[in-house]
C-alpha cells in the first residue's frame, strides 16, 4: 500500500522528493514525497514515535535531510539563510513553553524579526503588520495581556498571529490543538482553515483523524518510517488504513452524508 506520488506540482510552495529524515545519521523516516500548494492544507497523521516531529523539523530547515531534497518555491531549501527561510515558512510550536510573560503584542511583533535589519528594532510597517495579524485573529483586545496569563486557546491564536505577521507563504503547525479544550480546538482549527482561504499553504500534525477529515484538503500518513498513504482526506482516511496506522481497532460512524472515526471498540471483545 505504498503510495509515492511523484509530486511535480506546478506552483508548489514546498516540495519534498525522495526525502529521508533522521538525527545524526540515524534514519527515522524515508520514501517521503509530497508537495504543499497555496490555498490548501495538508494534515500529517501518524502514531507517536512515527517520525512526524522529525519530518516537521526537517521541512522547516532546523534539521538537515539525510537524503533527498526539499525545494522551497523552486529552489533548494538548504541554500536559504535563517532569515530568508523565516520570510517564507512560519512555524507555530505547541503553546505552553513560554518562560517570560511577554505581552501578546510583543509576542506577535517577534514575527517581524526576519523582516528587520540585523540589529534594528521594529519600524512602523512592522507594528502595522502585527496589529493587522492581531485583528485578523480577533485577539486585538488581548494585545496588552501577558501570554502566560491567557488561556491555552488564546495563546495558540497569539502564536498563529505571530506566524501570520511573519508574512510567509507556508505555515507549519505542530499539533495546534494539543492540550486545548473542545471549544478552543474548534476555534483554533477554524482560524487555521481561514489561512488557506487567504492563499497560504498550511501543514499541520494532529492525533485526530477527524480533524484531518474536516480541516485538511489532503492527508499524509506516516508510520513505521515511511509514508503509507497520501491523498485527498476523504478518500484516503479509511477504517483499514487507520487500523493499520495506529494498530488498534477503529469504529466508523456514518450519518448525514458524512463520516467520522472513533478509536477502539465500544464493547470489549
Amino acid at each position: 500500500m505504498v503510495v509515492t506520488v511523484a509530486a511535480a506540482c506546478e506552483g508548489a510552495v514546498l516540495e519534498a522528493r525522495g526525502l529521508v529524515v533522521g538525527y545524526r545519521g540515524r534514519r527515522v523516516a524515508g520514501e517521503i514525497d509530497f508537495a504543499l500548494v497555496p490555498g490548501r492544507a495538508l494534515a500529517l497523521l501518524g502514531p507517536n514515535g512515527g517520525g512526524k516531529t522529525t519530518l516537521l523539523r526537517t521541512l522547516i530547515g532546523l534539521l538537515p535531510p539525510l537524503a533527498g531534497e526539499i525545494r522551497l518555491e523552486g529552489g533548494p531549501l538548504a541554500d536559504l539563510t535563517v532569515g530568508a527561510r523565516a520570510r517564507r515558512i512560519a512555524y507555530v510550536p505547541q503553546a505552553g513553553g513560554q518562560a517570560f510573560g511577554f505581552s501578546v503584542r510583543e509576542t506577535v511583533l517577534m514575527g517581524r524579526l526576519a523582516h528587520q535589519r540585523a540589529l534594528a528594532g521594529p519600524g512602523p510597517a512592522d507594528v502595522a503588520a502585527a496589529e493587522a495579524a492581531l485583528a485578523r485573529l480577533g485577539i486585538a483586545h488581548l494585545a496588552e495581556r501577558p501570554v502566560t496569563g491567557i488561556s491555552g486557546g488564546e495563546r495558540q491564536l497569539a502564536l498563529i498571529a505571530r506566524a501570520l505577521a511573519q508574512a510567509p507563504r507556508l505555515i507549519v503547525l505542530d499539533e495546534p490543538t494539543a492540550s486545548l479544550d473542545f471549544g478552543n480546538q474548534g476555534r483554533v482549527l477554524a482560524e487555521m482553515r481561514a489561512l488557506t482561504r487567504a492563499g497560504l499553504a498550511v501543514l499541520f500534525t494532529t492525533h485526530d483523524p477527524n480533524q484531518a477529515l474536516r480541516h485538511a484538503d489532503e492527508v499524509a500518513m506516516l508510520a513505521s518510517g515511511r509514508l503509507i498513504a497520501r491523498g485527498p482526506s476523504a478518500a484516503t482516511i479509511t477504517r483499514p488504513r487507520l487500523q493499520h496506522l495506529y494498530g488498534c481497532d477503529v469504529e466508523e460512524v456514518v450519518g448525514d452524508g458524512r463520516h467520522a472515526f472513533l478509536p477502539g471498540s465500544a464493547t470489549r471483545p
Partner: protein
Amino acid sequence: MTPRLGLAAALGFLILAVFLALSVGRFPLSPLELGRAVWAAVTGTPSGLPPATSAVLFQVRGPRVLAALLVGAGLATAGTAFQGLFRNPLVSPDLLGASSGAALGAVVGILFGLPILGIEALSFAGGLGAVAVVYAIGGALRGGDAVLTLVLTGIVVGSLLGAGIGLAKYLADPYNQLPAITFWLLGSLAGIGVGDLLPLALAVLVGIALLLTLRWRMNAMSLPDEEARALGVPTGALRAAIVVGASLVTAASVAAAGIVGWVGLVVPHLARLLVGPSFPRLLPTAALLGGGFLLLIDTLARTVAPVEVPLGILTAIVGTPFFIALLARTRGGWS
C-alpha cells in the same frame, strides 16, 4: 506601573543614589557645596571652597562612585541578559565561570606578589579564559540541548576553578596574602583609584553597549532555540555575542572590585517588576537600577562601620531577604 514610568523611576533612583553617595562619608558635603564644586569644575571658575573639598570629591569619592555605577550597571545588565538566554531566574553573570576564572586569576596574582595592575590584568584574562574554555567544551559536546550543555559545563568548570582558589588560599602566606585574598573574594571598591577607572570603564561600557545593541533580538533568544531560529534569528551567533558581552563586563568587574555577588541575580528581577519582561526596555532599566543599587550598597559599606565592610557581605545581607520576598510574591515563577 507603565514601562515608561518604570524607566524614569530607575533613572530617578540612580540620580538620588549619586547625590547621596557624593554627600555622605567621613568628610560630609552639603548639597550646596556639592553644587558649587561641580559648577566650578564644569565652568573652570574658582569655587571658593577649601581645596580639601574638591580633592575628596574628584580624587576620592568621584572615582569610587563611577566605579560602583559601572560595576553595578554592568553586572545587572549581564545578569538580565543571561537570565533570558538561559531561561532561568536563578542565573547570574558568573554562570559560565567568568567570576570564578577572574577570582582565580586575581588570587594567583596575589600569590606571586604581582603589582596591583598585574593582578587586575591576570584576573580579567582569567575570567575571559574560563568562559572561552567553557564555551569550547560546551560546543565540542554538541548534542541535544546546546544551552543546557553550556550550563552544565559552566557548573563543572566553575567548581574546578573553585578548587584552584581553595588550593591558592591553602598555599598562601597566612599573614599577608591570605587576608588580601579573602578581601578580594568578598569584593570591595575601597582600593579604586583614578587609574583603575579607564580600563574598567572601557571593558564595561563596550560590554553593555554590545548587550544593548542586541536587545531587540533578546526576546526571541529567550524562546526555545528552534522557535527562535524559525523566527529567522541566527541563535548560535547571537548566543556567542551575548556571552562575549556579559563576560567582558563580569571579568572586568571582578578584576576591579573582586567578587560582588547578588547584584546580577536580584536586580534583573527588580527591573522586571518595574517594566515587565520585554528586553528592549528591561535592559536599560536593569542597568540604571544596578548602578544605583551597588552605589547605595557601597555607600553603606564605607559609612555604616568604622572599618570598610566588604561588598559581598552587604549585598548578601540585603539580597537574601529581598530575594525570598520576591520568591514568595511570584511563587518561584517569573516576576
